[in-house]
């Protein structure tokens, strides 16, 4: 039996927890979830990639503790079913409420709208080949040639406790509790087969996939440095660009990944306090954009194309080591990635007393080498490096979407 979140509430009330149920209901938004609040779960590609970026993120990676391939398959089937239901705003499917057993759904999203929830799953290189080189689940031969752990890159000082993982789950929603609820419930379902490895909550989107044409209702979002981020990002409706830069083609290698993508996750710590002490002119030179308008230093409006050839009295108008210059497709042989990052904070750094905050960078691409190429350049020369450090990292192969109720994440890989 499946319960809508609203009916779940009634179920609780009917089961005798009337007081609690009423109190919860009293806090719930009165408007029913509008149809526009639901993002289609099934499709050729997983949702949560080209989807217009939601406001909040809950991200978690897992290590598989079971040695059984059947357990992993069972987990992925259960996860697919639960995620599809949660995406519609429904509760995690399970037995009807029973006083004698804990509810199938943890309940904190009851009464909340679907809030454009998407749940996106990816597989780490370690799922295919163990640290000792073992073929853990008979998948080693199906690992795409391009799918190797990221090499050591300049500008990073990685914490192993915030890196890697056999499986990653990205939940995005306009409601933080809906996103958290999704990963929490998948973690719960997975107990005994997987253990959580690390997690990150993103409190604000820093990228738009809506571009200048459609526009983001709130304007291009800003990162914690106060700059608009993702002005020139790949637009989620630009199928040609997505096919060229984001979706893995069947012909790229392993067929099971056709229609999928690669996810690079980087926890990028910002040195917020020194940045806040940097003079405005230098901040703008570091990015190559004006802070207020978001316009390139060679333009007037945000979406003006940067002119990297323009020179002023003392050299290039957009400095040689400006972030946008080094990251631009124009200066990287046309290379692009789809960015979908979020601002994070994990409180105060106990040693330095400074904010532990920054950008949880999420990017989707057709080949992990797109990121490696960009980061080799940025990590070496980017003016921004004075104020940031990459401290966590993960690379995941994101399987294609599911075709319907009988399909499940990774079916082609495990079949």
């Amino acid at each position: 039996m499946e319960l809508s979140r609203r009916r779940l509430l009634q179920g609780i009330a009917g089961a005798g927890a009337a007081g609690a149920g009423l109190a919860l209901a009293g806090c719930a938004p009165s408007a029913a979830a509008a149809p526009t609040d639901v993002v289609d779960f099934h499709g050729p590609h997983q949702a949560g990639i080209a989807t217009a970026v939601q406001d909040r993120l809950a991200f978690m990676t897992f290590d598989v503790t079971s040695t059984s391939r059947a357990d992993v398959v069972e987990l992925l089937k259960s996860w697919t079913t639960a995620a599809e239901a949660m995406t519609r705003g429904a509760a995690v499917p399970g037995a009807p409420p029973d006083d004698q057993v804990p509810p199938a759904d943890t309940g904190e999203a009851a009464g909340l709208p679907a809030a454009r929830l998407t749940v996106t799953v990816g597989f780490g290189p370690s799922l295919f080949t163990g640290p000792d080189g073992s073929d853990r689940f008979g998948l080693a031969a199906r690992r795409p040639a391009a799918f190797v752990p990221l090499p050591a890159l300049p500008g990073e000082l990685l914490d192993p406790a915030r890196s890697g993982g056999d499986i990653a789950v990205q939940a995005c929603s306009d409601d933080p509790q809906v996103a958290f609820h999704a990963v929490r419930n998948l973690a719960r379902i997975g107990r005994g087969t997987v253990v959580a490895r690390w997690a990150e909550l993103g409190f604000g989107k820093t990228s738009s996939t809506q571009g200048s044409a459609d526009g983001d209702p709130g304007g291009t979002p800003r990162n914690l440095m106060g700059f608009k981020d993702g002005t020139r990002n790949i637009v989620g409706t630009d199928d040609a660009a997505l096919d060229q830069h984001v979706w893995v083609a069947d012909a790229d290698g392993q067929g099971w990944l056709g229609g999928g993508s690669y996810l690079v996750a980087r926890r990028i710590r910002m040195f917020v306090e020194p940045w806040d002490r940097d003079r405005l002119g230098d901040q703008e030179a570091v990015f190559g954009r004006f802070k207020d308008s978001g316009a390139p230093l060679t333009g007037k409006a945000e979406f003006d194309a940067p002119d990297y050839a323009a020179t002023g009295a003392d050299g290039p108008v957009i400095p040689a080591n400006a972030h946008i210059r080094l990251a631009s497709p124009e200066n990287n042989g046309g290379l692009r990635i789809l960015r979908r990052g979020y601002s994070y904070t994990d409180g105060i750094d106990a040693t330095t007393g400074t904010l532990d905050a920054g950008l949880f960078f999420l990017a989707y691409m057709r080949d992990p080498n797109q990121f490696v190429t960009l980061q080799r350049k940025l990590g070496t020369s980017d003016a921004l490096n004075e104020y940031i450090r990459h401290v966590g990292s993960g690379l995941f192969a994101v399987p294609p979407g599911t075709s319907g109720p009988d399909d499940w994440w990774g079916r082609a890989l495990f079949s």
Binding site: P154, F271, G281, A285, L297, G353, S381
Partner: protein, 375 residues
């Protein structure tokens, strides 16, 4: 080091919307605290042009205020003299305004606004003598030049002791000489960073380099000494370190500074402290971070002391606050003095590291305000 930041201060400043900073790179002396009063000149840009008002001013500091009520076509104004841009304000779109200041000797100048029907307008400075900047700031920049030259001279000598020990394969002597050599680099690091690849060559950490086999400088040898316990293959790295320091010495001999560069360099030194020294990342093998920490503070304090008289004239409260906060940091560090240097940073507890960090952050915040007061 600061990860591969080449400051290229003038190149960067030229694009800034803040005309003050752009002007800081012009060759003319800068207006500052004290001296003759400034004259205000307004430049209203339009499709027709950019006539200055007044078009004739007395010798001395001039504050230009640029406004653009309605022109989409003309969005910048420059003051030219002797064929050079002395000051400019770009990207003044309709409704925006901006300002920059110059100190101008008597002579004929022009105001230039590309795209206007009449794009060049005469501007005259009358009077006798020179508009030389406030003597205290001129003296400060000269004294800072001398300080950098002295520090790099000492760096060369101290580094030679270090590299000689490395070439001789004497691990113990090299370990002894490592931190005392570095302090003369850490005190002037923002200057070294302004010379492109020199700072990465001298001071890169392993996570700053793309290819570890191309890694050079102090930290490469630090790893050999404290982590690998072997100096095998380090002689060429020692030779290159000597050569890079010789290059640095030649460059600083002719380098000149603007007052704002002193202030910004001091801020950069505190950023160094709070992002890499407090965390123990800088000298992760030798744990000599406190030597570098103290040298960063010394370099910042030197720059501040040179600017202090001019700052005291314009903002005595800020000058006093900085004085007190420098003292707090120096006193905090003094607890860890040992012999002619500092204790092993590994022995400093997290609580004590936090206390050092808090005092640095309390100093860095007001220090970031100084550049705006001395240009």
């Amino acid at each position: 080091m600061t990860p591969t930041r080449s400051r290229a201060a003038c190149a960067a400043a030229a694009v800034l919307s803040a005309g003050l900073l752009a002007a800081a790179c012009a060759s003319s002396p800068q207006p500052s605290a004290g001296g003759p009063p400034a004259t205000n000149v307004s430049i209203e840009i339009s499709d027709a042009g950019c006539g200055p008002n007044p078009a004739t001013v007395p010798t001395g500091p001039v504050n230009f205020a640029v406004t653009n009520p309605a022109s989409d076509k003309v969005t910048e104004a420059e003051v030219l003299g002797g064929g050079k841009i002395l000051g400019e304000k770009e990207n003044i779109t309709p409704g925006l305004d901006g300002a920059f200041s110059l100190r101008l000797d008597p002579g004929t100048y022009s105001v230039y606004c590309p795209g206007a029907a009449k794009d060049t307008w005469a501007f005259t400075v009358q009077g006798n003598g020179s508009a030389a900047a406030d003597t205290s700031l001129t003296a400060a920049t000269q004294a800072y030049h001398d300080y950098v030259v002295t520090e790099v001279g000492q760096l060369q000598t101290a580094a030679k002791t270090f590299t000689d020990a490395v070439r001789a394969g004497d691990i113990s002597a090299a370990e002894q000489a490592y931190a005392p050599a570095r302090v003369h680099y850490e005190s002037i690091e923002p200057v070294a960073e302004s010379f492109g690849d020199l700072d990465p060559a001298i001071d890169a950490r392993i996570d700053d380099v793309t290819d570890p086999t191309q890694w050079t400088g102090f930290h490469r040898i630090e790893k050999a000494l404290w982590a690998d316990h072997s100096l095998a293959g380090m002689a060429p790295v020692a030779d290159k370190l000597d050569a890079d320091i010789a290059t640095l010495k030649a460059k600083v001999a002719t380098n000149t500074y603007q007052p704002a560069e002193l202030a910004n360099g001091a801020s950069d030194l505190l950023t160094e402290v709070s992002t890499s020294k407090v965390t123990g990342e800088e000298d992760r093998y030798s744990h000599t971070d406190l030597w570098d920490f103290a040298a960063n503070i010394d370099g910042a304090r030197k720059a501040f002391e040179l600017l202090q008289p001019a700052l005291a004239a314009t903002d005595p409260d800020l000058a006093q606050q900085l004085e007190a906060r420098f003292t707090d940091v120096v006193n905090g560090l003094a607890k860890y003095r040992s012999g002619n240097g500092y204790e092993d940073y590994g022995a400093v507890t997290d609580t004590d590291r936090r206390s050092l960090a808090d005092s640095v952050n309390a100093l860095a915040e007001p220090l970031s305000q100084v550049a705006g007061k001395v240009v």
